[in-house]
Amino acid sequence: MSAIFKLTMPKWGLSMTEGRLVSWLVDEGAQIEPGMEVCDVETDKIASAVESNLSGTLRRKVAQEGDVVPVSGLLGVVADASVPEAEIDALIQDFQATFVPPSPEDETGPAPQKIEVAGRRLCYLKRGEGGVPVVLLHGFGGDLNNWLFNHEALASTREIYALDLPGHGESSKQIERGDVGELADAVAAFMDAVGIPKAHLVGHSLGGAIAVSIASSEPERVTSLTLIGSAGLGEAINADYIEGFVAARTRNELKPHLQQLFADPGLVTRQLIDEVLKYKRLDGVDEALRKIADTAFAGGRQASLVRDKLAQVRVPVLVVWGSEDQIIEPSHAQDLPGNVRVQIFPDSGHMVQMEAAVEVNRVLDEFLR
């Protein structure tokens, strides 16, 4: 019997229950390979391309453009050219008859947890089991959902913790000094509290500077470093973005700033803006962001430069950048010490881990092995 596969709606992050098929990127009859983008899907968080993990011919487009399909629902059928049409009809019929969309109750599954660490509430999401744990650290103004497309993929073979940094997400909003050191101390204290003696640290933007700071002050706690569009490798930063993000109060004010985070500004959906606005409306967020911006990015320059510390780090280091990064220029990935492996992804902006999620996950997965 020849192979016949179901192409289904992926689940990007815990809160995703359905996606809207915006457009097909391949025609029926086209040959598909793993990693190939087959269609564009829009969720209540973000729009992205669905990449195939299958190999074969796209025999049938089950979902039409504009359809809203639940997670795990059937998008199309991929099979060998030799598979008869009747067999494909039967598969679709059988699927539609038996498919039960995951109920919202199932969706609550692994919810973020909260823990008190040194007088602060820290919120984190843990997935996966085994191996050396991985700790994901988001950037300025972000939260653990910045790892929406990476978390599940990386957790298949290891334990992953995504953290809301102090002042961010659902963690406590009080910030004392707002420098990289304060945030690094909070992360180290978090690792103590949940019992992580040693971890792979993956930091995005400001989270990258935090990761290097921990590796430098407590080298025995770090197995490897991955720095994505990282702060700390040069003085320059897009000060207009930092100021604009902190000051924005409405959807229209926020939108142009969020669009700078991506190479494709179309990825900034109304819902994505709403999520960020909901965060910015929480009590204490204005003050927290202000304090971090005024300290870590005082005068529109990066205050904490960790390039020298990086040269002394004795663990494997991976540096990832989007070639179109408008927040921290990809040139900051140049002239790094010899122990550092650098990977630049084309057509991606500052949020490269979202915009080129599949490729970044592949490189990360291999690096963390």
Binding site: P112, E170, R251, R270, K278, R281, L282, D283
Partner: protein
């Protein structure tokens, strides 16, 4: 992720969190304590529909039962506000506001202006509005338009649990008198609400659904009916952009005008009686400021010019429904110059 709670719980949580944060916040109204504290009472009734339930055990004398005398306790709340408290007074039904118009219109709304900007009146008057509860003509009116007419008052009409919490906290912190209108048919509506404290600024409408064909401006409970209509219309390829005003004073003109510039068509859906209401107000603004963008006459979907009927069949006819909204949108779409 935020948990899901009801509109009623969201209001209760906003009151409780602000009372915990700020000692000057007090709650008063008919039956807000509701017997709690009296001998033999184990639990508070918490207002006519239980919205303030549980506050008295936590905050004691900062939650007060008042006599059935709206003129007296609304006046007292306004007085307390001028003296430095942040009172939240519950006036059961907006229909009863008439007996304290002097206190609200001619006193609270005017203090800032009469005293050279030196007086502030941070009072919130929470009140139930709207039809659909089989409560007849004297307990079912919507009336927010009357308060919108008065400079010096802020008027808030939340449509979702998330908005109810954030807008009520903003109302409590605001230094002007706020009329906070809670549609009684929304109390059971569930929605995601953060546990943390947050505020939603006044005068910022919410674009709840994006669409390129018709702008539908609405508020309060009607948002849910409009969304139902918009979902039906989408099946026929008519894409509605749905705007929830959230507050009518101040009102977010910019969002309305920007949307009409894009769609060229406007339908306004308002549960109020048709004369001098929010629908006429929004229509006038758009006709004046975006006339050239319009491809069709503006349509308004409102209640008729009658009191709210007691007969359930007639009451259901009275309140705008999805079919009427869909018909109005179809008419606007079909218009040829």
């Amino acid at each position: 992720m935020a948990r899901s709670i009801t509109f009623q719980q969201a209001i209760n949580e906003a009151l409780s969190q602000e009372m915990a944060r700020d000692q000057s916040v007090i709650v008063m109204g008919e039956d807000n304590v509701g017997g709690m504290g009296a001998e033999g009472e184990k639990d508070a009734w918490g207002g006519v529909l239980g919205v303030t339930k549980g506050l008295y055990p936590k905050y004691g004398e900062r939650v007060m039962d008042t006599p059935i005398s709206e003129s007296a306790f609304i006046g007292a709340a306004i007085g307390a506000a001028t003296a430095g408290m942040r009172p939240v007074a519950e006036l059961m039904f907006i229909d009863f506001m008439g007996v304290c118009f002097d206190q609200i219109f001619n006193q609270a709304a005017k203090f800032r202006y009469m005293f050279g900007g030196k007086a502030k009146t941070p009072v919130v008057i929470r009140t139930m509005v709207g039809a659909g509860f089989r409560a007849a003509a004297q307990h079912s009116q919507i009336l927010y338009s009357i308060f919108t007419h008065i400079p010096g008052l802020k008027v808030v009409i939340p449509a979702t649990p998330y908005d109810a919490k954030g807008l009520l906290i903003q109302s409590i912190r605001d230094n002007d008198p706020v009329i906070f209108c809670e549609h009684k048919m929304l109390y059971g509506v569930q929605g995601e609400v953060p546990e943390e404290i947050y505020t939603i600024p006044f005068g910022e409408a919410n674009v709840v659904r994006e669409g390129k064909n018709v702008t539908v401006v609405t508020l309060g409970r009607m948002l849910h009916v409009v969304l139902e209509a918009a979902a039906n219309l989408a099946k026929n390829n008519i894409q509605c952009e749905v705007i929830d005003l959230r507050t009518t004073s101040p009102m977010d003109e910019a969002t309305i005008l920007e949307s009409v510039q894009n769609t060229g068509r406007l339908v306004v859906v308002d549960e109020a009686n048709p004369r001098c209401n929010i629908a006429t107000d929004v229509s006038a603004i758009v006709a004046q400021k975006a006339f050239r963008a319009l491809k069709a006459p503006i349509e308004m979907v409102t209640a008729p010019h009658t009191p709210v009927p007691f007969s359930p069949d007639l009451e259901d006819l009275y309140v705008p429904n999805a079919a009427k909204i869909e018909a109005a949108v179809v008419e606007v779409m079909a218009y040829k110059q």
